[in-house]
Amino acid sequence: MKIAINGLHKAFESRIRLGIMSALAVNDMLDFNSLKEYLDVTDGNLASHLKALEKENFIGNKKAFIERKPNTKYFMTKQGKKAFDNHLKELEKIIKKVGK
């Protein structure tokens, strides 16, 4: 079954990256540990996916210290929001097409 993938951003091919974007879409900010909990992934795995999304400028981070421990909070950028919304629209389109 062939489905046109135009409009679907490569960055969202991974479920984990999609999960990160979904969580950040409904939360102003989330720290590393919260994301880790929601996604149930290892530190290294999450860090590499976060880095990939940061490279696309889809998310940003704010570093702070809580009781001297580093605490990084992530948020969605405007660009990321646009790309994510687009992705959702495309997904819906594809599914509607298949349903016909």
Binding site: M1, K2, I3, I5, E13, R15, L18, G19, S22, A23, A25, V26, N27, L30, D31, S34, E37, Y38, L39, D40, L88, L91, E92, I94, I95, V98
Partner: protein, 207 residues
């Protein structure tokens, strides 16, 4: 190349992640049912055993035995509150464990932050009312501020919580005016409504 099934699953997971990361859904219907039962038992005990039925907004000093039974009523209220909160914590903890989530996450914190403000303000106001002898305002105030807390928290949990909150506020206002119905309004708001809410949540979301 992904297949259509993958896209459907993608969408389902996006939705689930949005919900899980923004809403506190661990509070089980059973917690509501049990809290309602505690409240009804408390109201019944205070009415039957202590003959407590606050009539007037301002009790006249020495007019009845209110000064003597007040400490008992407060003690009873504290026990009911502690049991309800304890049950809610234990059941939520178990529920979260079953879903493989941690109970203390950012949604829990947000929910409690939003409930906390009206509850603390209301709690202090109730203590002031007690100290000043306005015992007849305690039931309405507790209903109103609890309702406000629920409305405030409803964005972060099941949407039905908002309706529950609005009814509690209404009951509080009614009981503030019709002072004779205070104990009944209180028992209905904290007892019957919690039980109805608990059953509804249980059948709607936990079956």
């Amino acid at each position: 190349m992904k297949e259509e099934q993958d896209y459907i699953r993608d969408l389902a997971e996006i939705r689930s992640m949005m919900e899980r990361s923004s809403k506190f859904l661990s509070l089980s219907g059973w917690a509501g049912i049990l809290a309602g039962i505690y409240a009804l038992a408390g109201a019944l005990i205070s009415y039957r055993l202590f003959n407590f039925n606050p009539g007037e907004a301002v009790e006249e000093a020495g007019a009845d035995n209110s000064a003597a039974i007040l400490p008992k009523i407060i003690g009873l209220a504290v026990i009911v509150l502690a049991m309800a909160i304890g049950t809610a914590i234990i059941l939520s903890y178990k529920n979260a464990e079953k879903r493989g989530e941690k109970i203390w996450n950012s949604t829990t914190r947000r929910l409690l932050n939003n409930m906390g403000l009206p509850l603390v303000a209301g709690g202090i106001l109730i203590l002031i009312a007690l100290a000043k002898g306005f015992t007849g305002l305690i039931a309405p105030l507790s209903l109103i501020f609890y309702g406000l807390a629920l409305c405030n928290a409803s964005i972060f949990t099941y949407k039905e919580v908002k309706i529950l909150g609005l009814i509690e506020i209404m009951l509080g206002l009614i009981s503030a005016y019709f002072t004779g119905f205070q104990l009944i309004c209180w028992a209905f708001g904290f007892g019957v409504l919690h039980i109805i809410y608990g059953i509804y949540i249980h059948y709607r979301y936990e079956k």
